[in-house]
Symmetry: C3
Subunit: 128 residues, 3 copies
């Protein structure tokens, strides 16, 4: 298992972790197989989206703010971050990738993102 | 493959299955690797969210009811549970976990939940 | 790694790929284990839903159109397909399946679908 840390800088933020993920996969020495990336938090998630235009990832963030607004009367969790937990379940906590010839296989437009929903914090990503 | 059953008790309900999952993983005898949990249904899902305060999981349930209301004019499926199927696709039918030293690796706040969207029923979780 | 192609025919469309997936898994020769299906695109996803009544998959499509409408003032991505990218992150880009005795294990109602959100296009699914 490899671990890397991500320092987020805002309450909600999309962070492109493709390069860190590629490095972590290279360090595992895996030639061919499947890699799981897992984040051990409940208020940030992992997703794949277009990585070339940062507006795409930010559109996801802005739209999730509309789908799951902060501070709704039906939220009962006292922490004030019910929205962050709900968003995390919608995008998910883990991703799977195919590795071939030691290289993480992604489509030409795909980038891998950590989705911060309750930052800023130090987040971790586990690779196996 | 290990299988365990979950008896749900309401139309929609979040059931913390972390302990059952830990036991099933221990029974597999796997020391280090990745475990897949998969539910073979189309109106219940699996998700990871905060497991210490049950309000967090219930907030997800209540918010999904708002995002995907029952009985909408644009639903054409005759079963009356179109909402349950849509919610299942949003949270997903499977999860992946890293196992290290025979122990399922979760963050300190993470709990694993079966999301019942069309109960009460007996549901199954497959582990591999 | 096996690859198969899917020609979609509409802007948004749910395509049942269960048979193609079963064939691809059979071709891998895997007897027991876990298979990952991954789509290398950022405007189409993969999901599991009820496969017997096509209305169920179409209900998901129609409801996603309501949750993530086309052309919103808060979308900044210039490509005009911000909605397709957001929907893809909500349903996800990969799925995992358990294989037993060489056979892909699904529940009796489950079908596997490619969700086209910005078609028509030729899409690919990677299997490992």
């Amino acid at each position: 298992m490899k671990v890397f840390a991500v320092q987020t800088q805002a309450g909600t933020q999309m962070i492109n972790i493709t390069d860190q993920l590629r490095e972590a996969v290279a360090e595992t020495g895996l030639a061919d197989g499947v890699v799981t990336a897992f984040t051990p938090h409940t208020s940030c998630g992992l997703t794949i989206t277009e990585g070339n235009d940062p507006d795409v990832a930010d559109d996801l963030l802005r739209h999730l703010d509309r789908l799951v607004p902060k501070a709704q009367p039906h939220y009962r969790h006292a922490g004030g971050n019910a929205d962050a937990h709900i968003k995390t379940s919608l995008v998910g906590s883990s991703l799977q990738f195919i590795v071939k010839g030691g290289v993480l296989q992604l489509g030409p437009w795909q980038g891998v993102f950590l989705c911060e929903f309750d930052g800023p914090r130090i987040r971790h990503v586990w690779i196996r």
